[in-house]
Each structure stands twice: as C-alpha cells, then as structure tokens.
C-alpha cells in the first residue's frame, strides 16, 4: 500500500513505496482520457485550418530565400544597438552629493549637487574613517572613507637613502563627499542635518552597520573626529547656498 504524504513531509526511503500525492486523483491507465471541452466545445488539431486573424503577420519569406543556406561572410563592425526611442519614465530615484571640508576639526559644506539614479549604500564599515549623516534621529547615510588624510609622494627611484618609499604627511584639512538619498533630505530639514566624521578602530572595520547610530553601536570603537550640527543655509556663502537650493529643490 502506498503511503500518504506524511505531515512532516518525511524523508526519502531507499526502495520505499510510491508516495500518493493526491488520493483524489486516479492512477494512470491505458485508454485515452476523456476529451476536455474548450469554451464549451471539443477542439481537435486539424490540418488546413486558417487563422482567425491576419492583421499581424510576419512578412513573407522572399522566394529566393528558400532553400538557400549559408549566411554571408564575416559581418563588418556593427553600429551600436539602438536604445528605445520612447524614453522610459523618469525615475524619482536620485541623491544629493554634499561636498564636506574639514579644517582644524571644523566641518563645513562647500557645495552640493543633485545626481540622478539609484544610490548604493554599503552595509558595513570598511576603512579607518566613516561618516554618518542623520536627520533628527534617522540615519540617512553612512559610508566608509579610505585614505582620508594621508598624503604620499611616489618613492624616488633615483633618490638616496630615505627616499625609497613614500614621503608621507597628514593633511590638517581635507575633503570628503556625503551622499544622501534625495527623498531623505529637504531644504527644510537642513537645520536638523547632522554629519559626523568618525575614526574607526580596526576591531569595528568589516562589521555590519546596524540600525543604531554608529556611536551607539560601536561605542569606543569609533571616535568622533569632526561634526557638523545643522545647516543654516542663509549663513552659508552665496555659491554654496545656491548649490544647496539647486540640489534640494
């Protein structure tokens, strides 16, 4: 006797009996099954039937085409494929790029641009620095920044001792870019925008970023380097005001 499908789905049994999938269905027999009706009638395959509509037909095959065989020689360099003439509807996706400047621990915005299209936001910390942008209690962006402050000269291949490697200095002023999804920031929210630059310990690198603020999640593993607490557009230089208004309009 065949087994019913066990409630817990069960496991394969070598040389086990057939599994009855649906006891309401019959076993396969030998005779043809009853014909089913389609739209109330029996339809059999017939030869020579004409299609109901001939309004959308492929062009006729050229007479000389059959039974010709073999394509021509190697194709010449082809022009690029044509994009659809009908433009796809504009996506609402986009982000704002804020150009941040840090000098002597003070952070400022020096420009802004709007960028169309989606934005990938990494989910883990990767490098020695990272920024976090929040509006009120909501994080709107966070990203690691490699190689933020170091400045290196090429080694000197002709140089004497001491010049075999980079000449390394650390910049007291530097720049980075904050990228915030367009729908997460408005002009009106700029006073609530907070951007914090952190130095990330080795232990926190490669760790996934949770929903908490970085400071709360990683505690002593992240060290605040600089912070921007709110933006008063009217207090910014005119070109920066203009770029912010344009980017966030």
């Amino acid at each position: 006797m065949a087994n019913e499908t066990p409630p817990n789905k069960g496991e394969q049994v070598k040389d086990g009996p057939p599994i009855v999938e649906n006891a309401q269905l019959p076993r396969m027999g030998k005779a043809a099954l009853p014909e089913k009706t389609i739209n109330g009638s029996v339809r059999h395959m017939t030869m020579g039937a004409q299609p109901a509509s001939r309004t959308n037909l492929m062009a006729a095959v050229p007479e000389h085409q059959m039974p010709q065989q073999g394509a021509g020689g190697k194709q010449a360099y082809q022009p690029q494929q044509r994009k659809p003439g009908e433009q796809q509807p504009a996506s609402n996706e986009g982000y704002v790029r804020l150009h941040m400047h840090v000098a002597n621990g003070q952070m400022s915005v020096t420009g802004a641009q709007a960028v169309a299209g989606p934005l990938v936001q990494p989910q883990s910390l990767q490098h020695e620095h990272a920024y976090e942008a929040t509006v009120g209690a909501n994080r709107v962006a966070a990203e690691s920044i490699p190689d933020l402050t170091e400045r290196r000269s090429y080694p000197n291949p002709q140089g004497g001792p001491g010049q075999e490697g980079h000449y390394i200095t650390h910049a007291s002023s530097y720049d980075f870019i904050v990228r915030i999804p367009r729908n997460a920031l408005s002009l009106a929210q700029l006073p609530q925008l907070r951007v914090t630059l952190y130095q990330i310990s080795a232990a926190a690198q490669h760790q996934p970023m949770g929903r908490q603020a970085l400071g709360a999640q990683f505690g002593q593993q992240v060290k605040e380097v600089a912070r921007l607490n709110g933006l008063r557009v009217e207090q910014l230089p005119a070109p920066v005001q203009e770029s912010l208004r344009k980017a966030l309009q």
Binding site: V120, S153, Y154
Partner: protein, 684 residues
C-alpha cells in the same frame, strides 16, 4: 577646441558604481591625442587589464575629461635642499598644477586656484566621482596621492596607480620596509599587524596550519629591509605573492610590524594583490560590482573538452576556464565586445558549437532592452575572449525577430555546426517556426512554417524539444501540446536538413502512457543506440508520480519501462526536477533529479540508465559544504573533461559550486560572491 568628457567605461548609474575620473593638466589642444593615448595606456590597457581590476571592471564607471590648457606642459617650481623656493615658472594650464620634482614636496603641488578649478571641472563634467586621477603633461618622475586623488606625471605606469589604488580604494597599508622599528600600536589596515598570535591574527584564515607563525622574523637591528621566509625551510612551490604567513616588516617599517606575504602589490607595485589585499579590495568593491551567480552558462569555449563557465550580470560577462578541478578567469568585459554587442540585463544566451570548430560559441538575443530585437553570434576572439561575428538587427531575410521568440540549439542539417530552431507563438496573428542554419559566420533562414507544420497545427502552447530520434545525424523536432486542444498531442518531426516532416503524431496516448497537460519531456539517448529517446515525467496529474522511458526506433516510440511512484532508489514526487546528462559516460543518457519542496530536506539524485531501466541514488541536504536549497539552479556540464565524467554546476545568488557526479555526488569546489582560487583559505 572646447573642453569635453568621454565616458570610457559605462558600468551603471553613478550612485551604484565607483566613479573614476581622469583629467589632464598642461595638455594644450595639440596635446589631446597624446593625452587620450596615455589615458588609454595607463587606465584601460594598463590598470584595468590587471587581475582584480580586470575581474571587477563592472564596479567602475571611467570618465576621461579633456581640459584644454592654453600652454603645453605644466608650471615648474624648484626647491633648494632646505626646502626654500628657488624659482617658479608659471604656465597657463587648466588646473594650474605646479611640478616641483621634489620627493619631499610630493613631486608637485597645487597652484593658487587648483582646488577651485578641479572642483569646477568635476562638477561640470561628471555626475559623481570617487577617485580622481590627474595626469600632468610633465615627463619628469613623480606622483602624489591621498584623499581619493592621485596626481601623476607621464613618467609612471599602471603599476604605481595599482599600488596607489590599494590605498585610495582599499584603504590598504604599504608593505615595504624603509625605516626601523614600528612606533605605534595595532594599525587599522587589514594588511599589517603587530599581532603575532596565530589564533587571533587578522588574516589567520589564509595561513596554512603547516606554515610557521611568524614566518619571517627580522634579525636584530634590521632597518630598511623586509624579512622573508626564515623560520624553517621555505616549502617547495611556495609562492611569495600568494602564500600567506606572517612576515616582519610592513607599513614602511622593518621591525615590530608584520605583513601577510613576502611580496604583495602593496610592497612592489607589479605583483598582484596578495590574498589579504585582494579580498579586502573585492569586499570593498563588491556592493558596486553587484555580481551574482544567477545567470551561469556552461560551455567548452576553448575546445579542450572541459566545460567552462560564462557568467552574465547586467551589462557584463565573465568567462572562467576550467582546468578540470577549478575555474580561472580568462575574460571580463563590461558594456560592449568588439563587433559590437552591448550586453544588457535581458540578454538571453544560447551555447553551442555554431561553427563546428570544436569550441562553443554564444548566441545572444535581446528583445527587451533595445528599440528593436537583436540577435548576435559571439565567437572566440583568439585570445580567450569573445567578439561579435554576426548580428541581426530586428530581422534577417525571412524572419522578423519579436518579443517572445524562443530558440532551440540543434544541428538540424547534420553539418557539424549547431543551428537554431526559432518559434514564436504569441506575437503574431499566427504562430511561426523557423529553421535558421548556421554557416559558422552567421545564420540564414532555410525554412519557415506559418501556422502549421507538416501534420501539426501550431498554437501558442506548443512546447518544443530537440533530439535526433531517427539517428540520421540531423537533430529533429519534438512538439508537445497539452493545453490548447481537447486532447494532448505529441509530434515527432524529422529534419532532412532544410525542412521537417511528421514522422509520427501521438494523439492523447503514447504507448503505455496517457498524455496529460503536466507531462514533462526530457530528450536523451537512454539506450545508447544513437537515436534520441524520451524520458517522460508526470508528477501532478495523477495520484502518484510517473516516469516513462520511451525508446525511439526511428519511426516511433515504445515504452521501455514505466516507473509508477518509484525508481529503484528514488521515491518520485510532484516537484522532482530533472536534468539530462550522461552521468557515467557510458553513452547512455541519464538523469539528475532534484527535489527541494516535497520532503523534509532537499535531495539531489542520479538516475543511471542501464539501457531500458534506471537505478537511483542521492545525496540529502548537503553535498560536501554545499547546503542544497530552494534557490539552487543546476547546469549539467563536464568541467573535468576526459579525466572525469559529467558534472554539475550549481549556483544561486551568492554561491557557485562544482559538483562531480560520475561515481557519486560530491563537491569539488565552492565559491562565495566571487570566483578566486586561494592557495589556502577562502573569503568567508
């Protein structure tokens, strides 16, 4: 000549990629060709032909900005040995950089308004940027990097940029040693450490247990050099670039700090990244390559008898070559291949030897992403890659491509070159079926059937299968329709090379089989007589599942064996999924069978044909380290070639596996997120 921008590589929207911008300073109008060539040499033909950058091209948009300087060459400044300016000669250039030729002044410096000019150029010409490379029209040696920016002269080559990219993109430390003792604590970078404890080492997972830790210890007083393998005898075959240990010296210091390998790119530029740095770079770029293993295709693209792998992601393809036990990258392209074919999201790939040269080619079809449908034929470019040798834009004589064209690879004229059957049952008032013969250089229509095939009235629900059921060397066409008529039909249409004729049509029943809409057909010569036979499965229309082995005698089918509910060794279920392959290389087509839905765990089985009967075995839940799951897709292949027996590629979004199946089911290799063969360890 106005300023301009050219996008050299277009991988995707700027917010989803890393955007590399190259700008020139000191290039006058007459220097622009030289500038363009230098960018090509450094970036496209240089950096992005190298290991990781080649593999991860799809992470990058590359923009070349042509800024026209009034003067040719850049401003010059000379310092004396005390760092005092001796002289400055200014030129009128686009970005006002000043070359000073002084190591301790970073070889070059900003002019008074360089930052403003650079930001203005970036904001004007590119939507976004992550890495900025400025090329100075200056032949003297030098370059200055940091802060996401690298300014170089004409004297450098790609290797320095590759090293600098390790800093700028990966946040990697230098691994050379020019100073004495490390003065600090544990460095933050992944490729240097002060920790010599094997158990807590940052890169412990890459260190073979047989490798001593530390592996190289600096003799007392060492300064200005890195230590190699000196803790025991270096094993034969040790690779100074790819075998990982713990070597004293790194981050520019000689003692008190360690690096992973003897000689990484972060030590001496030209070698590839070591496993630690490679993995860091790939992790950093991974969100931007956005590669998956969802669209994988097996094919022997170099004709060595071993199945290789083609992976398609959006507008890129990657080709990996099998050496019998692992896969290695041989080709990576983003956006376009010479010829030209622009890869796109909805490209469909069909693999076959379309020119009879013993190597597989690729037919690619896209009826979604462009203004008109396109069909392309990609063939070996002679350098492990592919280029386009034929393309049909919208139509070919006698066939107009349309949205739902379905293609079937089959050598219907027996000339040793795979051809194409093409069917469209939905986009026109009537169904069409075409026979597109391959010349090796392209395709031409040799026959088209409008509405009817001989002895068969075509309808949208027709399902097609190919296989040489009469053994004449020409692939024939099998057509099944279980849904559009009052009874199911199965037709066997033989090909004479240019046309089809109905050999036999089964109405409602096959020998010892009642046809129903849920019948699933798998063509394979299960008795090894040179004629394609039919495996027929139905798991949904009856109270139990059935599998029939219907053998062809060239003019019809007869039931060799019908299994009701069980094949010896396998209890059949509704959602069994089958794949045809000659698993044991005995000339008889067998079946892989997979079921992840109907049991408490997942089963991957083999049904081996003994001519007219089957015996089965299986692996449950795990195949080695591969945890079988609902998302798994399988592709029968033969990555082992003559040395082995047919295998399976198994893949899903994040994982790719090579399953050997000839003698039993076992896992040969498993890759996560990317395909890379670490000498020891792995990236998860």
């Amino acid at each position: 000549m106005p300023d301009s921008m050219t996008q050299l590589v277009s991988a995707g929207p700027p917010g989803t990629k890393r955007n590399l911008v190259v700008l020139g300073d000191g290039f006058a109008a007459g220097d622009q060709d030289a500038y363009n060539q230098k960018v090509q040499d450094l970036v496209i033909n240089g950096l992005f032909q190298q290991d990781l950058f080649y593999e991860d091209q799809q992470a990058f948009n590359i923009y070349r900005v042509n800024l026209i300087s009034t003067d040719s060459g850049v401003s010059q400044r000379v310092y004396d040995s005390n760092g005092n300016i001796i002289s400055t000669t200014l030129k009128n250039t686009a970005l006002s950089y000043i070359y000073n030729g002084s190591w301790s002044h970073c070889w070059l410096e900003d002019g008074t308004n360089t930052e403003f000019l650079l930001q203005n150029a970036l904001n004007t010409w590119v939507p976004d940027y992550n890495f900025v490379l400025v090329l100075l029209n200056e032949t003297g040696w030098g370059g200055c990097g940091g802060g996401g920016r690298l300014v170089v002269t004409l004297a450098g080559d790609w290797s320095v940029i590759a090293h600098e990219s390790g800093h700028g993109m990966g946040g990697l430390a230098d691994e050379y040693c020019v100073r004495g003792a490390w003065p600090g604590g544990e460095p933050g970078q992944v490729d240097v450490t002060t920790n010599s404890d094997r158990n807590t080492l940052k890169w412990a997972n890459f260190v073979n247990p047989s490798t001593p830790v530390p592996t190289g210890v600096a003799p007392a007083g060492t300064t200005g050099s890195c230590t190699g393998y000196n803790q025991g005898t270096k094993p034969s075959g040790w690779d100074d670039n790819q075998d990982v240990g713990l070597f004293e010296g790194g981050s520019t210091y000689s003692t008190g700090v360690y690096r992973p390998v003897i000689n990484c790119r972060m030590n001496s530029n030209r070698p590839p990244y070591c496993p630690v740095c490679y993995t860091q770079m790939r992790r950093v770029l991974d969100p931007y390559t956005d590669h998956t293993f969802l669209n994988c295709y097996a094919g022997d693209f170099n004709g060595d008898g071993k199945s290789d792998l083609l992976i398609h992601n959006d507008n890129s393809i990657l080709l990996y070559r099998s050496n019998g036990s692992q896969l290695d990258i041989v080709f990576s392209v983003v956006a376009i291949v010479p010829g030209s074919w622009q890869f796109s999201t909805h490209d469909q790939f069909y693999i076959g030897d379309f020119n009879g040269d013993g190597k597989d080619e690729v037919v690619v079809y896209n009826s979604v992403d462009w203004a008109i449908p396109y069909l392309g034929l990609l063939a070996d470019d002679g350098n492990n890659g592919l280029d386009l040798i034929a393309r049909y834009d919208g139509s070919m004589p006698g066939w107009q491509f349309n949205k739902t064209d379905q293609f079937y690879v089959a050598d219907f004229n027996g000339d040793g070159k795979q051809d194409l059957f093409v069917f469209n049952g939905s986009d026109w008032s009537i169904p069409y079926l075409g026979l597109l013969a391959s010349s090796g250089w392209g395709f031409s229509l040799v026959q088209r059937y409008d509405s009817t095939l001989p002895g068969w009235q075509m309808t949208p629900g027709d399902q097609h299968f190919v296989g040489d059921f009469n053994g004449d060397g020409k692939a024939d066409l099998w057509v099944f329709n279980g849904s559009n008529w009052s009874i199911p039909y199965l037709g066997l249409l033989s090909s004479d090379g240019t046309s089809l004729s109905m050999t036999v049509r089964y109405d409602s029943t096959l020998p010892d089989w009642q046809m129903t809409p849920g019948d699933q057909h798998f063509i394979g010569d299960f008795n090894g007589d040179g004629k394609a036979d039919l495996y027929l499965f139905n798991g949904s229309n009856w109270s139990i599942a059935y599998l029939g082995l219907l053998q062809s005698n060239g003019s019809g089918l007869s039931m060799a064996t019908r299994y009701d509910g069980t094949v010896p060794g396998w209890q059949m279920r509704t959602n069994d999924t089958h794949y045809v392959a000659d698993i044991n290389s005995d000339g008889k087509a067998d079946l892989f069978v997979y079921n992840y839905q109907d049991w408490s765990t997942q089963y991957l089985g083999r049904m081996i044909s003994e001519g007219t009967t089957l015996t089965a075995d299986w692996a449950a839940s795990w195949v080695g380290e591969w945890h079988l799951g609902a998302v798994d897709q399988f592709a029968p292949c033969d990555y082992e070639g003559a040395s082995g027996q047919p295998d399976l590629f198994v893949h899903n979004h994040d994982w790719f596996g090579m399953i050997s199946a000839g003698f039993s089911i076992g896992l040969q290799k498993i890759y996560y997120r990317w395909i890379h063969n670490y000498r020891y360890g792995r990236n998860w």
